[in-house]
C-alpha cells in the first residue's frame, strides 16, 4: 500500500536544504563588458572573455560585488573580510571556458538567517531558516538539443550553443540544513523562497522572475524515521521554477522517498528534475557519477577585500524589510489578509503605494490595479505595471471622485491610456468621455424614457421603486453611458414623486 503525504509525515521526518540562484540585474556581465539584456539574437552578446578565448582576462563587475554584499546584509550574513573566486572545472559545453568561475571555500557572505512565517494548525508561527553562504558566480550559456527521440539532451544528435547568457552575474544563496519543520516542510520551503524573492526585489538587485529563470531554486530533501535522530540520504531536485512548484516538489519528494523507504529500498543520492505537469520528479544523473569539479583559486582574478566602512555605508542603505513594510501598509490601508496576499503575489504593492501617495483613495487604488488594469494586462500577457503609471491611475480615480467620470467611463479612459491614446485627459477629450451632468439634458432623456415605457413609469409612481431600474437603464443607454447613474436615479424618482 502506498503512503500519501499525511501518512508519510507521520512516519518520517523531512529535512530540507534550499539553493537559490539569482541573476543580478547589472547592465554588463560578471567578468566582461558584454550586455546582459534578455532576448538578444544568438551570440550577439559575447566577447573573448565570456567565450573563454586564449589570453582573455576577466575583470570583476564592481556593481555585482555591491549587489551581493547587499543581499548578504539583508540576509543577516557576515561579510567576509577576504574572499576569492575559484574555478569549478567541468567539461560541458554550456561554459566555453570548460570551467565556471565561482566561489568555493571563501564565499563573500556567510552565516545569515531569514525569518519566515508559516500557517500551522495552531495559527501563524515564525520559523527561522539559517543561511550557510551567499556566493558569486556566473550563469551558463543556453543549449538547444537537436534530434533524438525526446528533444532532450539524452540521445540528441547534436546541440547548439548560444553564449549570450554565459557570464551573467549569478548569486547562489544556500541554506544550512533546515530541520524541525515536521509536516510543514513544503510551507517552510515556499515561505522562504517567497520572502527571499521579496527581499531581493526590495533591494532592486534582480528581476527575480522565476518563470523567466532569473531566479531558480534547487530543493534538497531527505527523510529519516521520526525520532531516529538520523539524517537520511538526500535527493536534489532542480528545475523548480515557481513558488507553487517549490511546495509541490517538496511534497512530491516526501511521498516518493517515504514509499521507497517503506518498501525497504534505499534512497539514491542523485539529481532529480521537477516535472511541472505532474508535480513529480524524474531521475537525472546520479551523484555517484557526478563530476569531480577540481576547484582551485582563480589565478586571473584578485581577492575581494571589502572595506568595512563601505560595508556599513551599504548597510545604511538597506530598505525596510518586506515583511515589516507589508504589515505597515496593510494596517495603513486596512486591507483584508487575502487581498493583501493578492497584491503581493501580483507584484502590485509598489504601484498601489505610489498611487495612494499621490492622493488616491486606498480602496479605489487597490481595486483599479487588481481589477481592471490586471484584467487588461492578463489579456495582453504583460505585467500590469508596464501598461499604465500610478500617476495616471490616480488621475482617473480623482476624476471619479469629483464626479467628472463614472466607473464605466473611467474604464474606457484606462483602456484608452493603455491603447496608447495618451494621458487620461487626452483620452477624455479625444473620445468625448464626459459625464452628462447637465440636468436639462438628463431630464429630456428621462422624459423620453417615461414616454416610451408608460406602464413602468406608472408602477414607479405607485411605489414600486425597483421598477425604476428599467427607466434608468434606458436613460443610460440614451446618453451613451456618459451619465452618472446615481444622479439619473435621483432626478427620475423626484420627477415621479418618489423622493
Amino acid at each position: 500500500m502506498s503512503l500519501n503525504y499525511d501518512q508519510a509525515v507521520e512516519k518520517y521526518e523531512p529535512t530540507l536544504g534550499l539553493e537559490v540562484h539569482v541573476e543580478l540585474n547589472t547592465k554588463s556581465k560578471m567578468f566582461c563588458s558584454c550586455s546582459t539584456e534578455f532576448g538578444g539574437a544568438p551570440n550577439t552578446q559575447t566577447c573573448p572573455v565570456c567565450l573563454g578565448l586564449p589570453g582573455a582576462l576577466p575583470v570583476v563587475n564592481g556593481k555585482a560585488i555591491e549587489s551581493t554584499i547587499l543581499i548578504g546584509l539583508a540576509l543577516n550574513c557576515s561579510i567576509a573580510p577576504f574572499s576569492r573566486f575559484a574555478r569549478k572545472n567541468y567539461f560541458y559545453p554550456d561554459m566555453p571556458k570548460n570551467f565556471q568561475t565561482s566561489q568555493y571555500d571563501e564565499p563573500i557572505c556567510v552565516n545569515g538567517y531569514l525569518d519566515v512565517e508559516i500557517e500551522t494548525d495552531e495559527g501563524v508561527k515564525p520559523f527561522r531558516v539559517e543561511i550557510e553562504r551567499v556566493h558569486m558566480e556566473e550563469d551558463t550559456g543556453k543549449s538547444l538539443h537537436v534530434g533524438g527521440a525526446t528533444g532532450r539532451i539524452h540521445g540528441a544528435d547534436y546541440s547548439l550553443l548560444d553564449y549570450n547568457r554565459a557570464g551573467i552575474p549569478l548569486v547562489e544563496i544556500v541554506t544550512k540544513i533546515v530541520g524541525g519543520t515536521d509536516k510543514y516542510a513544503p510551507q517552510v520551503a515556499r515561505a522562504y523562497v517567497t520572502e527571499l524573492r521579496d527581499i531581493l526585489r526590495s533591494l532592486g538587485v534582480s528581476d527575480v522572475k522565476m518563470e523567466q529563470g532569473s531566479m531558480r531554486c534547487d530543493v534538497n530533501l531527505s527523510l529519516a524515521p521520526i525520532g531516529s535522530g538520523e539524517l537520511g540520504t538526500r535527493s536534489e531536485t532542480k528545475n523548480v521554477n515557481s513558488l507553487r512548484s517549490v511546495e509541490r516538489a517538496v511534497i512530491g519528494e516526501v511521498v516518493r522517498q517515504s514509499n521507497r523507504l517503506q518498501d525497504g529500498e534505499r534512497i539514491v543520492q542523485e539529481t532529480r528534475h521537477f516535472q511541472e505537469e505532474s508535480g513529480q520528479t524524474r531521475s537525472g544523473r546520479s551523484k555517484e557519477q557526478a563530476e569531480d569539479y577540481r576547484y582551485f583559486p582563480e589565478p586571473d582574478l584578485v581577492p575581494v577585500v571589502p572595506d568595512s566602512a563601505w560595508i556599513e555605508e551599504l548597510r545604511a542603505t538597506l530598505p525596510e524589510k518586506p515583511s515589516t513594510r507589508r504589515a505597515r501598509l496593510q494596517a495603513e490601508w486596512s486591507v483584508p489578509d487575502k487581498e493583501m496576499t493578492s497584491l503581493v503575489n501580483a507584484g502590485l504593492l509598489d504601484v498601489v503605494e505610489e498611487t495612494i501617495t499621490i492622493g488616491a483613495d486606498p480602496t479605489r487604488a487597490r481595486s483599479w490595479w487588481l481589477g481592471e488594469v490586471s484584467r487588461l494586462a492578463n489579456e495582453r500577457e504583460v505585467d500590469p505595471t508596464s501598461l499604465i503609471t500610478p500617476a495616471q491611475v490616480a488621475e482617473v480615480i480623482s476624476l471619479i471622485a469629483s464626479g467628472e467620470l463614472t466607473d464605466k467611463l473611467a474604464r474606457q479612459v484606462v483602456e484608452g491610456v493603455i491603447a496608447g491614446e495618451g494621458t487620461p485627459a487626452d483620452v477624455i477629450s479625444k473620445r468625448g468621455l464626459k459625464v452628462v451632468s447637465d440636468d436639462g439634458a438628463l431630464m429630456t432623456a428621462i422624459e423620453a424614457a417615461i414616454a416610451s415605457q408608460p406602464d413602468t413609469a406608472e408602477r414607479v409612481r405607485g411605489g414600486n421603486i425597483p421598477a425604476a431600474g428599467a427607466l434608468i437603464g434606458a436613460v443610460m443607454k440614451a446618453t451613451g453611458g456618459q451619465a452618472d447613474a446615481a444622479k439619473v436615479r435621483e432626478l427620475l424618482l423626484k420627477h415621479l414623486g418618489q423622493l
Binding site: 563588458s33 544568438p42 551570440n43 566577447c47 572545472n89 566555453p96 540521445g155 547534436y158 550553443l161
Partner: protein
Amino acid sequence: MAAISRDDVAHLAKLARIEMNDSELDHLAQEMDVILGAVARVQEVASADVPPTSHPIPVNNVVREDVVRPSLTPQEALSGAPAQSEDRFKVPQILGEE
C-alpha cells in the same frame, strides 16, 4: 608510497576528456608522482605564519564599472568554431540515450 596512482591518472584523464593508452598511463603516473613529490617539498619550508597565496602580486579589489561595451558580432564570435549552425556553436552529442 606513491602520491598518485595509475587509477588517479586514469580518472583525471577521463575528467579532462583526454584519451590515454596503457603505456601513457603508466608513464604519466610515474612522472606525476615525481612532480607531486617535488611540489610537496615546499610544504617542508612553509610555516604556519605564511598564508597560502593564489596570486603572486599582493593586489586586491580590482573591479570595473558596470558599463556595457560593444560585443563581437556573431560572425566574429563563431569564426573559430569547428562547426556552427543558426548563428550558434554546434557541438557533438553530449549524452547518449538513457
